[in-house]
Symmetry: C2
Subunit: 563 residues, 2 copies
Amino acid sequence: MSKKLKVLIVGGVACGPKAACRLKRLMPEADITLIDRDSIVSYGACGLPYYVEGYFDDIETLTHTPAGVPRTAVFFEKAKGFKVLTRTEATKIDRSAKTVHVKNLDNGEECDMAYDKLVLATGGKGFKPPIPGIDLKNVFFMTHPDHAESLVREAKAQGFKKAVMVGAGFIGMEMAEAMTHKGMEVTLIEMAPQIMPGILDEDIALFATKYVKSKGVKVVLGERATNLEGEEAVSAVKTDQGTYPADLVVVAVGTRPNDKLARDADLLCRDRIVVNEYCQTSDPDIYAGGDCVVNKYAGQNAGNQLFVPLGSTANKHGRVIANHIAGAPTPFSGIACTGIVKIFDYTLGRTGMSENQARALNLDVEVTTWAGPDKPHYMGAKPGIIKMIANRRDRKLIGVQVAGLGDAGKRFLDVSATVILFGGTLDQLADVDFAYAPPFSPPIEPLATCAHVLSNKLDGLAKGISSIEAHKRFEVGDVVILDTRTPQEFKEVRLPYDVLHIPLGALRERINELPRDRDIIAMCKVSMRGYEAQRILNAQGYDRVWFMEGGVIGWPYELEMGQ
Amino acid sequence: MSKKLKVLIVGGVACGPKAACRLKRLMPEADITLIDRDSIVSYGACGLPYYVEGYFDDIETLTHTPAGVPRTAVFFEKAKGFKVLTRTEATKIDRSAKTVHVKNLDNGEECDMAYDKLVLATGGKGFKPPIPGIDLKNVFFMTHPDHAESLVREAKAQGFKKAVMVGAGFIGMEMAEAMTHKGMEVTLIEMAPQIMPGILDEDIALFATKYVKSKGVKVVLGERATNLEGEEAVSAVKTDQGTYPADLVVVAVGTRPNDKLARDADLLCRDRIVVNEYCQTSDPDIYAGGDCVVNKYAGQNAGNQLFVPLGSTANKHGRVIANHIAGAPTPFSGIACTGIVKIFDYTLGRTGMSENQARALNLDVEVTTWAGPDKPHYMGAKPGIIKMIANRRDRKLIGVQVAGLGDAGKRFLDVSATVILFGGTLDQLADVDFAYAPPFSPPIEPLATCAHVLSNKLDGLAKGISSIEAHKRFEVGDVVILDTRTPQEFKEVRLPYDVLHIPLGALRERINELPRDRDIIAMCKVSMRGYEAQRILNAQGYDRVWFMEGGVIGWPYELEMGQ
């Protein structure tokens, strides 16, 4: 009788349990043990901000299955058929002996555990910046249920009024919402000159910042937290430029991989553990997945080293690892760096590369920004913005970013991630047979409209400029601004500049009011009429005409309202 | 100086105006005229049920741009730069002379209009079944704003109480909702043995029917309306099996193409006008698009003749036609037969081929149905169902159908349509880097989970059977039903049969309670645990084990509630 395959899994949050469950279904005879230094495993860490906000009252909800069964060691043993040892730390791998040295954190006992296949799913940890005061009371991180629980407990006990959020990434945005909902005054401090740096381009970030401010969040950009002040408890965050009073501080300035075990074992690492498409490390009997590994980009034309720690990817890795161990390998295509966040009623997200990242790789990119309604106007539409980035040479989609009310953003990202996975072009994206009915979308899906606009730019038909570029020109004042909207629209809201207001329907008749020797920037509500005006003027020999992408809806600066 | 290109467009709803607008932007010098026999053009016909329901009060909203500008002949001339002649009917094409004979329906004047390029965008018309009483008062069709307006007017004047809807396709479902919201008692009569025949498979239709009935709509299947009774106004619908009292009747039993002009001109037609990928008819100077043409399927393995009249496709055709006329051709990839409908809080839809259609083409298909939450349970998840159809030979995605609360359905369809366009496999679908955050989805997107289940079936790991098949077996009573849910879940709701209730966590210990000589069907809430039980039993030598796909959530029949 053949020996049972011994599989040891280190790490019990997402990738580890997924690998164990899947493997047990594939190889019921395998002897699988999962260890974790923590006392709980398999929890929904992404749900922490929603616990703080008050979506649910019991933190243990995060460790339950959808059917309400707690995911404990007993559950995994009984229902899933593998052993879970909590409070058990792996301290060293002996690759030649194929053992892992482990320590029981409760009683200090140590031993060696043998493996045939080892899985490192050790995840990441929140980065703790080495600044004075970081260990003061009421300074929280948000990477473990204990953190969220103590924040909620202390908020109730101490009645926090002023919250400072250090870091404006995904967690920062979610926590800004959560703490605002709890009635706190929230200040969001970000070292970079924009929110969500490295995730969103400047223009989309600027637009989202306008919205976040409108919800009462104070946004402080381009300032670095230098120390946290206070006696016992924190009382203020000092930056290189100011001081911000705080009853509590949440720090979320990125994560670092838990890859020491791998490095000590001389497994190939760059900034994380390096794995192949089957999640094998440089030792073929050792797999790694989740937040501790380097990801590969699924699209073309991109660098290969990516670090995007996400529960969705960790789960995919777990499955890939199990399949490979079981002898039914399924290579992982890689990630598209998709990310999404809800902040109040707003959806912000991206997939593929940002414009910045694409330009940094010297790709020949063209970009557009579309703004408009997510549904027909008669169905109660909400406005949104899509930024799209494509390669000029092969018309392939490079990336998409979204910002707007409602949750249409997710479907735009999901479809775009699919197109990127297949290396599709803008023309193919526009040809997708999107599901259409008035409660869901306009007859032409906004993503397709945006692809059309970008195609028109690639073809030299549409000459759009971004609101950021337009803003610079308007501030200098060397262009004619042509507002093509109706008198009613013009009365309600306007750009705060001298503009020539000619409704599109009157443009052909009044074309002589426009100078031929100056640059003209046409605009409207979303910029369909701006583009139309550009084409009408082009046809009459005006060559120095652009339209402002996104129009009034996509304008991230102040507007003049009313009379 | 060269002569201006003369373009004549017949038909002014969706494809026609789109072609004209786009062409004018591409070729400002073109001389474009659009004619329509109607007095209004470019209206949102898909919005009619929502006008009836009361989403908006003024029917003219449907002819306005999102900025509120009416799309009149003057609007098109002034803002878009082409001529629109309403109440003008095209009666005959003279292909050798390149003229169209037209008649002014107001003054009876006739003339010939010359063209260099002709576009037929003549659309379709609601089929009027030749049954007695069809012309009675209070019998409505729903293909023109006038119909919706008179229905609403008469409902107010006459105070309709009993509505009968003949035909349970897209319009039928939308109107059933609209009339229920107006306080009427609604009976939905469908000739086929299921709702949405030809669109949904029987199982998904069955499930949706359960929901529609729960909203108070009486659903009558498998009965053919034979005549409408009444003196002046309709009073009842008679079918081959019964009589249904009615104050008003709405008839929506499909549409027919307006292709007489094309047939009379000897253009190649099958059941509609035949066009190539540039929307050219058999005469290269005559284009056709929208509801009057035969569509090509974008996916592999499918027949080429499809008729799916949709505003989204009509708009795409308009663009393709304009691009080809302007000398910048962009071939149209075809459609995926995507369709979606909201009924009350429910989303129903499909893309690609149905199981029925795929089997009719003798494709070697495998199918699964997944049921589950659209979000993590702690975020207030709503249940939904996904049916997925793939090709056994190449693992390519063939089709997807959705049913469920909320609007997650649209994103599932859009992504699936994208995968079908690219000829992608289940494995590629599951690898898409879906946007994940708790307000939007579980860490593993339901569409990916469904693709995993279907992969597991293709690989022989998962042995699922549909609820319809399970139901047949349960009724015969020759199988052991193994319910693997928790005692609490079992107490709340159960299948109305004798079942063996062993929670999954106890199954390994209590396995001997299960007979080895009988077929076993395992089930749970959604069927993850059912599948898990199947694998556990398989590992112990039980070979005759299946799990019931969709579990309790996906069960389209009655359930036993409470104690």
